[in-house]
């Protein structure tokens, strides 16, 4: 067979191509083509939010709305906010002069559907202290070419109960596209998150199911985190299933490129992370396609890995009760990230050879009050994959500090066990 020699120029081109795929600028559609609404029409919408009555519908007709103040629905019940369609009604907050988010919702039994929210300087749409909130066919994005100017969360329910995010799209957020925090009873389904630092994030929340979503081209696809020191101090019970978690190799632009992480944990995510569990409790991960994430398909980590203080009330830094089974893996694309410490750890110290992408990694922190050794699997990390011997699994041992990192391929302690994760979303399934 004739040997093919790559000319140097072509090689450089190839390398650039690999580099180019690390930043995503896709837009679902070109919103600038929509008719611009007049100042009176925009004011009408602002007033509609302010003067809304219980049990009513706020309709937002087709068009491009330039808003320079926030849309706030305050303490209302049974209200539906309805656009003419995700690609027909656009609320643009590019001109917002003040305020943490474009749209803010507080109430009971609120639905918001069929519209796009663009270019909020802070968060796109935030719902707080709400019991019963449904986001359906909502698209939140940023259209700045320079993503360092983008805002924080796209879809942001926090301190809520009975949350449904269905058929939504979130892209280009500097933090998480879809973020559910300090809430309980949650469904995130049929949605798409791309181009964000974190695609979908469940944080300090109870009883969540995340399924049938596509998380692609983010730095990290799906995250389950528990942070210390919050009013809802910990969270447990998350099922992540039947998702496509693809090529989440995006640059981590949560801080300016070239700068390291700051105090936000999301800034530490190494590009190429499919699923990241951090101080997560009771999580079942199954039926997912976890493909071509260049650093690690699934990262099972405890809070110690951040280097931040681990002393906080009513919270545990350890990830525990994790059941990973029946997922599809593919580690054929790229090399582990080197821009973040966790990426460097994987690249340099994994158990299968330098610069080899891993399918599953476990950072090896365990509660020494429960066991003297990790061999007993005290944190109940259970992995049940049919083709386990073909996967690249690494258990790290960071007890010796950065100078003496050890790693092992041995997954035996973490197999032949199951964990029962209980979730119950029956109450919100019909919303």
């Amino acid at each position: 067979m004739r040997k093919i020699a790559f000319p140097p120029a072509l090689l450089v081109f190839f390398l650039l191509l690999i580099g180019c795929s690390d930043s995503n600028h896709e837009q679902l559609f070109d919103s600038s083509k929509l008719p611009k609404k007049s100042i009176e029409e925009v004011e009408h919408i602002i007033e509609a939010f302010i003067m809304a009555e219980d049990s009513s519908v706020i309709e937002i007709p087709e068009g491009f709305y330039e808003l320079n103040t926030q849309l706030i629905l305050d303490n209302k019940s049974n209200v539906t906010i309805k656009g003419a369609g995700m690609m027909k009604t656009v609320l643009s907050f590019r001109g917002l002069k003040t305020g943490g988010e474009g749209v803010k919702i507080v109430g009971n039994n609120i639905k918001i559907e069929d519209l796009t929210i663009e270019d909020a300087p802070g968060d796109g749409i935030k719902a707080q202290h709400t019991d019963g909130i449904v986001f359906r066919k909502i698209n939140v994005t940023w259209t700045n070419g320079d993503k360092s100017k983008n805002g924080t969360y796209g879809i942001y329910p926090v301190q809520c109960k009975n949350v449904v995010i269905d058929d939504c799209v979130a892209s280009h957020s500097k933090d998480a596209g879809i973020y559910v925090g300090q809430s309980e009873n949650i469904i995130v389904k049929n949605s798409l998150a791309f181009g964000n630092v974190a695609g979908i994030e469940i944080e300090n929340s109870d009883n969540a199911e995340v399924f049938n979503n596509v998380a692609r081209n983010n730095s990290g696809g799906i995250l389950v985190f528990n942070l210390p020191g919050l009013p809802k101090s910990d969270g447990k019970g998350t099922k992540i299933y039947n998702n496509q978690i693809l090529e989440n190799n995006h640059k981590n632009f949560a801080t300016p490129i070239g700068e390291g992480p700051n105090g936000n944990t999301v800034t530490m995510i190494p590009p190429g992370s499919g699923i990241v569990l951090l101080a997560a409790k009771d999580v079942e991960v199954f039926g997912n396609k976890i493909l071509r994430n260049k650093t690690a398909g699934i990262a099972i980590a405890s809070y110690q890995i951040t280097g931040f203080p681990t002393d906080a009330p009513n919270w545990s830094p350890y990830t525990s009760n994790i059941y990973v089974h029946d997922n599809e893996y593919d580690r054929s694309k790229g090399f582990p990230d080197l821009t973040r410490e966790l990426g460097q750890l994987v690249s340099l110290y994994n158990a299968h050879g330098k610069a080899k992408t891993q399918d599953i990694i476990y950072d090896g922190f365990w509660d020494q009050n429960l066991s003297k050794t990790i061999e007993n699997n005290p944190m109940k990390i259970c992995i049940d994959e049919a083709k386990m011997s073909e996967l690249f699994f690494t258990l790290f041992d960071l007890s010796g500090g950065k100078e003496e990192v050890k790693s092992s391929k041995n997954y035996q302690p973490f197999t032949n066990c199951t964990v029962s994760v209980a979730t119950d979303i029956s109450v919100i399934q019909s919303l």
Partner: protein, 346 residues
């Protein structure tokens, strides 16, 4: 012949163009015009309160783009406010009035002024409601504008320099971004801890709450010493710590407390907070996003310029700046105070 202007008109111009209608003071709030309330006697813009109003001011004041403020409360005839369990309970029909104005020259604050907005907080049968009123250019009246607005404000500051501010008047629902305790609208300035101090205007020092009581508008204020009392953060005779805590309370704690909208953050900046972690010392952020800048901790003791809290106070970028609403400029004096305070922390 109608001439169309392509320029977007200012709120004042919009208000000035409307016919001056006679509005009935029928007791159904809100009125469209501020004048209908008859709070003030003589020329409306001079804001001489009628005898029914009680003037008040908090010891430390919220920073609002260097605006001056005059505050009054109207407690209905035959009604009285009562202190119960350490809180002032106001009777239904109480109206708080907060005027925001700029003297043309800060060095001569009693000379020509321009009123920008007047905010009302009215206690109805279902709770407090907020109403923003924007003054017209002619300064003859102010109109209810639920969508809020913006206006350019020019003044000469204390250094004799001209300053221009793109002043924002909040929309009605933005009021609750701050006036919010467990999703109920509440007054902020009119709390015992803010009012329990002696105003030294006139002949002798007077505790405002005692004055209210003397006028028969308050009962239950038995002993000022029994109640908390914040100092004026501008008073350089007070300790740095007390001044900084007073500043943070009045500028931040309406949101940053366990029952406020920023309870999600776990950062509690009220005067009463004693836990250093909750105050932000060596605390990592939660959802600060780009607000965190390059920094790791809300407050890094001894290192103000590496602290997220100061970083956000110094910013005017939406999504980074703190407070989230209420200012478009930077409060240089507040930053200096908090910088000195963080520097002093261990």
């Amino acid at each position: 012949m109608a001439i169309f202007s392509c320029k977007k008109e200012t709120p004042e111009q919009a208000v000035a163009k409307l016919p001056v209608e006679e509005e009935n003071a029928d007791g159904n709030f809100p009125y469209k015009w501020l004048s209908t309330y008859s709070f003030f006697e003589g020329e409306l813009n001079k804001l001489y309160q009628n005898s029914e109003l009680l003037e008040y001011s908090p010891a430390s004041s919220l920073f609002t783009d260097y605006a001056f403020k005059s505050r009054f409360v109207s407690i209905p005839k035959d009604s009285i406010a009562e202190i119960i369990d350490g809180e002032i309970n106001f009777p239904e029909g109480t109206i708080f009035i907060k005027n925001f104005y700029y003297p043309e020259d800060f060095r001569k604050p009693e000379d020509k002024k321009r009123n920008i907005e007047t905010r009302l907080l009215i206690l109805g049968s279902t709770g407090w409601e907020a109403y923003p009123y924007i003054w017209n250019e002619a300064q003859t009246d102010a109109q209810l504008k639920v969508v809020g607005g913006q206006t350019k404000v020019k003044f000469t500051n204390l250094d004799g320099k001209e300053q221009v501010i793109d002043y924002l008047i909040p929309n009605k629902n933005q009021c609750k971004s701050c006036h919010n305790k467990n999703e109920q609208m509440v007054p902020i300035g009119a709390q015992i801890k803010h009012l329990n101090w002696e105003k030294t205007e006139g002949a002798s020092p007077q505790n405002q709450l005692l004055v209210w009581q003397e006028k028969g508008k308050l009962i239950g204020f038995d002993n000022p010493q029994k109640y908390p009392s914040l100092i004026n953060y501008e008073d350089k005779n007070q300790t740095l710590n007390l001044r900084a805590r007073a500043y943070l309370d009045i500028n931040c704690a309406h949101c940053h407390n366990a029952e406020g909208p920023a309870s999600t953050s776990g950062l509690f900046l009220d005067y009463e907070e004693t836990d250093p972690l909750k105050l932000g010392l060596n605390k990592t952020p939660v959802a600060a996003g780009k607000g965190a800048g390059k920094f790791t901790y809300d407050i890094l003791p001894g290192k103000p310029d590496e602290s997220i809290l100061l970083h956000r106070m110094k910013s005017t970028e939406v999504g980074v700046a703190m407070p989230e609403i209420g200012r478009t400029t930077v409060h240089e004096e507040g930053i200096q105070l908090i910088r000195d305070w963080i520097l002093s922390l261990k």
